[in-house]
Amino acid sequence: MADQPSRNRLEDKLDAAWVWDRVAKYAIFLGGISAIVFVLAIFLFIAREGLGFALFDLDVGYFFSSPNWRPTAEPEPQFGALALIAGTASVTGLAMLVAVPFALGSAIYIGEFATGKTRETLKVLVELLAATPSVVWGFIGLTILNPLIIEVFDVPVGLTVLNAGVILGLMAAPIMATIAEDALKAVPDTYREAAEAMGATRWQVIRQVVLPSAKNGLVAAVLLGVGRGFGETMAVLMASGHSVNLPTSPFDSVRALTATIASELGETAQGSDHYRVLFTLGILLFLVTFVINLLADVLVRRGDKKQA
């Protein structure tokens, strides 16, 4: 009987532990689903301000077909987003032309050729590249690339599709390179060893074994780069010249969807048509990046399944 109380205390303690276990489990579950909650909240809150306008007040046909973006014109403001869409598309397209070959090339070099210290150093440099804030990139476009373009191509304005495309390419390349290198790393070493055992050179291994098995991951890397370029705001705002324009050459100034929101939102009255159309642009941006990310995820998943 003497040790009865102490056993009770032990039981109490155990009970407390299991109670805490349960509490922690629910708290952590809440944290776990927070990402889902936030993505839904983002959509709900931008839809709350912009969806009603998109559905009832906006001439959707005009929105997608007219380059006339005059949101403050009196008496009849014009909400044609074609020039903005063309601006975003031209800058992102050029950026991908610049970035994709170099990103994939350096991913292959870092992942497959480089070894030891070289490899570690290059990885660190690429990581630092990816960490540079977009406003700094915009500043570089504005102050370094701008005069360079004016001088080299003998054009009057250097804040153009070319400028923003190059800047965006430099921004997106390290991110794509990192994801692409992960995709290469996911190819099992046994594949490489098997090919090498048959006498293949390193390049033959890469071209005929590694690249085909990593194909999905590499496409996903490019897709995520596209999404990144599509959604980039500050750098494009500062380097593209920011004039509403259907571009016909890389030396035209353009305005991007993201940059339009960034530059105009501060001047609009809450609840006005102008304010709501900017949220409509936000919905468009959200949906496009959502689809791109979804596609990338499906591709990676399919790639994983094949390897398993």
């Binding site: 776990g32 960490a131 406003v135 700094v136 915009g138 599509f230 980039e232 500050m234």
Partner: protein, 296 residues
Amino acid sequence: MSEVDVRGFRAESLDHRNQRNQRLFQLMFGLMTVVLIVPVVIIISLLVVRGGPALSWEFFTAYPAANMTAGGIFPALVGTLWLVAVALAVSLPLGVAAAIYLSEYAPDNLLTRLINLAIINLAGVPSIVHALFGLGAFVLFFEFGTSILAASLTLAIMTLPVVIVSTRETLQAVPQSFRVACWSLGATRWQTIRKVVLPNSLSGILTGIILEVSRTVGETAPIMFTGAVFFLPFLPQGVMDQTMAMSLHLYNVATQVTGVPESLPYGVALSLIGMVILLNSVSIAFRIHLRRIKKW
């Protein structure tokens, strides 16, 4: 390779060609990597050369003067610290909890897949859309107004994936045998996490936090309409105040103000990228150190 055996006399030339291709492509990809990195080295040296002269003790401790064309960046620096601190206070517990869930609890089911998809999307949504969300949700709906709180919450949600992904990786790197040993002593799942899993991954989590801070420091678009302002002649006193910030300050002195001496925006850009590179270097150095002392 069978054709090599059959036509033996061509084997040598084929081998030579393969070797040549091999060297050629290695060189090509190596050059591509160099081309990717070199412009950035040039750009950073330019920033140092042109912005370096602007940096002084006074630059970091003085208020902007003469309509932002002179003086220092003190309130922007302090404002950025505020934004980072409040954002971290929100995203750290949430992010670590999410990572613990994904690493320690989550079964392989649809919900987990959805969470992972949501994390990718949270990272992929354009920063300006986060800004719209912050404005619609925190500034207007929850009536925080344009304040540090609204801006930091926006930043916290935006950078949450950084914390989740890096923490999850660290937790998953803790060997399963550690957990099994702890469970077999009768510990609950939570006791195991708190006493075994978390202490063994603390430094990895810290690495992720530093990375998140570096992301937060540089973000501009999400704070433009939620709490950061062009100029304030005083420091914020609490989370409901507006504030200046380094990133927005760079945008303003580079594009919104006329008559700025050339070295000033370069000085701001250099300070900003200096902060980011410093934070990242610390994080990288930490990671390398961790890998070296790792016991398992």
